[in-house]
């Protein structure tokens, strides 16, 4: 029993790591552009499948992650430049356009890669399992690597947003978009960059996630659902909120899967309901 609890806890942590990588991109583009990009789950899945194909062709897992991310970054750039900018300023229309793009990408994926669930092979250097000291549970090395990767991305995003010129401009745009625009900064370019970065993160998450979970039809919407729950709990547009939201969502989902599998997804209704009734803007969200 305690082994099950320990395993669920670790699985929850690694799922949280994956959810953080996915949700950080979504929350970043939301906080700047006020668009909930519903294509995010489709980007995740597209990135994962591209990674799968690259891995089959080259056998290089790191390259697969890189190209998967790059592909969805380009996809996101195109979506932002040619479709979303069409309705710039009308956030509802922009969000609905992103929904239609998600449906189109989801069906195209089905055409190219078929409907059978697939998994990306774990790279040899990250295969096997290690004994975690103190609690003494044998755990796959790959999942521990994922945890490290998420922490690396957290630090990377933090340095990018706090220390680089571009990051500071983005944060200024989040706080007061009109002022930044009035200062003569090219906001259109800023939007495109952030959207590309956000899409790239989703693609990377797709390859990383596809290596320990299945890639298959419907997975795009499951990931989008979990990601939206993360940012509803954590608060839209807050990076620290995304970390906490990912931890809560990951742990609850993992424990629910272990103990009450029939309700594993529906059980997430609980934190959403509790958070929304106490703090409608999310744990770390600002008052709208």
């Amino acid at each position: 029993m305690s082994l099950l609890i320990g395993m669920s806890f670790l699985n929850g942590l690694t799922l949280a790591a994956l959810l953080f990588i996915t949700a950080s991109g979504l929350t970043l583009s939301f906080s700047l552009m006020r668009v909930v990009n519903l294509t995010h789950g489709a980007f995740y899945l597209a990135g994962g499948y591209i990674g799968l194909t690259v891995l089959k062709a080259t056998g290089n897992w790191a390259l697969a992650v890189l190209l998967g991310g790059l592909f969805t970054a380009v996809l996101a750039l195109v979506e932002e430049r040619f479709l979303l900018s069409w309705a710039r300023g009308n956030d509802l229309i922009e969000t609905l356009i992103s929904l239609s793009v998600a449906i189109i990408i989801g069906d195209l994926i089905l055409v190219v890669w078929g409907g059978n669930p697939k998994t990306i092979a774990i790279p040899k250097s990250l295969g096997g399992a290690v004994v975690i000291p103190v609690i003494g549970i044998i755990y796959p090395l790959y999942r521990i690597f994922m945890l490290g990767l998420a922490i690396f991305i957290i630090l990377g995003l933090w340095v990018f947003l706090k220390k680089t010129n571009l990051g500071i401009t983005i944060r200024a745009g989040v706080d007061n978009f009109h002022m930044v625009s009035a200062l003569g900064i090219n906001v259109t370019r800023l939007f495109t960059i952030v959207f590309g970065l956000s899409g790239g993160l989703a693609g990377i998450a797709g390859v990383v996630g596809g290596t320990f979970m299945m890639l298959g039809p419907g997975e795009d919407w499951r990931i989008l659902l979990l990601t939206l729950i993360v940012i509803i709990i954590g608060g839209m547009g807050s990076l620290s909120g995304t970390i906490v939201g990912a931890l809560i969502t990951g742990l609850i989902y993992s424990f629910a899967t272990a103990f009450i599998p029939q309700f594993s997804l529906f059980f997430l209704f609980l934190p959403v309901a509790i958070i929304l009734s106490i703090r409608p803007q999310g744990l770390f969200g600002k008052e709208a």
């Binding site: 909930v36 609905l96 239609s100 309700f263 594993s264």
Partner: protein, 321 residues
């Protein structure tokens, strides 16, 4: 004024024609057309519930199919598993869907715009997850089969499509009257007030939350009614009926016809359901086609057919005036 009068005469004229056509439909058309119209009627009820929220409150919902499905699932479970006699399963089904709306409504009333859209997407998907995962009750992805339509006045509506048609027609027209009356009532006016300026309505002393809450429950009630006819007509229910695809289909139908009017919702549903039949014979890429159509309508005609037609008429009238 004269224009308005002639418009009203036209409306009454079209109303009488369409009612007499609908009342005599089974005698002058084929069984295929009757079945098609039945389909359009119950999905039309689902679309109307979405269009009511969108038109009156500016709320674009991605969970109306959840209420449609909850009612359908309750009817199916109570009838096949507990074999309860006729009026009980649909009554409980509609009541439970309304209770679910009362529960979910507490969470959504404070949101608007994309936040409402996002939250209803999440809640709708959670209902779908329940339908698909809670296999001991919902039978998972296979769904529940052999749900027979009831006997009414000694006629089996399961066997006679004509009887089923009139059974459905009564409630379909009832739903239209119900929602149209709500729209015309002071309640509808208050809702549009909230849509246009929430803070002003709040200042005037209206309870914005309560009004929204009631509207949400009324809309769910109509969707649930549609769900009962859906499960009776098709005889089965599975997670697809509460899936995101069904929700997006409903939204597409609403936007295609014109989200601000009930007539537009029915028109949109009719077009989409006929396309659906035609497309499924031609291609397997229904979702791809639907996605592209959704995108084009959103980008080029967000007002829909009825909305665009109204705009045309108005500009024409302005030119002549």
């Amino acid at each position: 004024m004269n224009d308005k009068l002639s418009l009203n005469i036209w409306k009454i004229f079209f109303g009488i024609i369409s009612i007499s056509l609908l009342l005599t439909l089974p005698w002058w058309s084929s069984g295929y057309v009757v079945m098609m119209v039945i389909r359009i009627m119950y999905f039309g009820m689902l679309t109307m519930s979405l269009a009511f929220l969108a038109g009156e409150l500016g709320w674009v919902s991605l969970m109306q199919a959840a209420f449609f499905g909850i009612a359908g699932y309750f009817v199916a479970i109570l009838q096949t598993r507990y074999s309860l006699p006729f009026p009980i399963p649909p009554l409980i089904g509609i009541a439970m869907a309304t209770v679910a709306a009362a529960l979910f409504g507490l969470l959504v009333i404070r949101t608007r715009g994309i936040y409402f859209l996002m939250l209803t997407l999440v809640l709708g998907q959670l209902v779908w997850a329940l339908a698909s995962q809670w296999a001991s009750v919902t039978r998972g992805d296979t769904g529940i089969h052999e749900v027979y339509a009831p006997m009414l006045f000694g006629i089996s509506t399961a066997e006679s499509k004509t009887a089923f048609y009139f059974f459905n027609l009564i409630f379909f027209v009832g739903s239209i009257i119900f929602l149209a009356a709500l729209k015309r009532s002071p309640f509808g006016l208050m809702l549009r007030g909230i849509r246009d300026s929430e803070s002003r309505m709040r200042m005037l002393g209206y309870s914005v939350g309560l009004l929204r809450y009631c509207a949400f429950i009324f809309a769910a009630f109509v969707a649930a009614l549609g769900g009962v006819f859906f499960v009776y007509f098709t005889g089965l229910i599975n997670p697809h009926s509460v899936s995101l695809t069904t929700n997006v289909d409903t939204l597409l139908a609403g936007i295609l016809g014109g989200i601000n009017s009930l007539g537009g919702a029915i028109l949109g549903t009719g077009i989409l359901k006929m396309l659906d039949v035609w497309l499924s014979g031609v291609t397997k890429r229904y979702l791809l086609f639907m996605g592209i159509m959704f995108m084009l309508v959103i980008m080029f005609a967000p007002q829909g057919i009825v909305g665009t037609a109204k705009k045309r008429l108005e500009t024409k009238r302005k030119k002549t005036a």
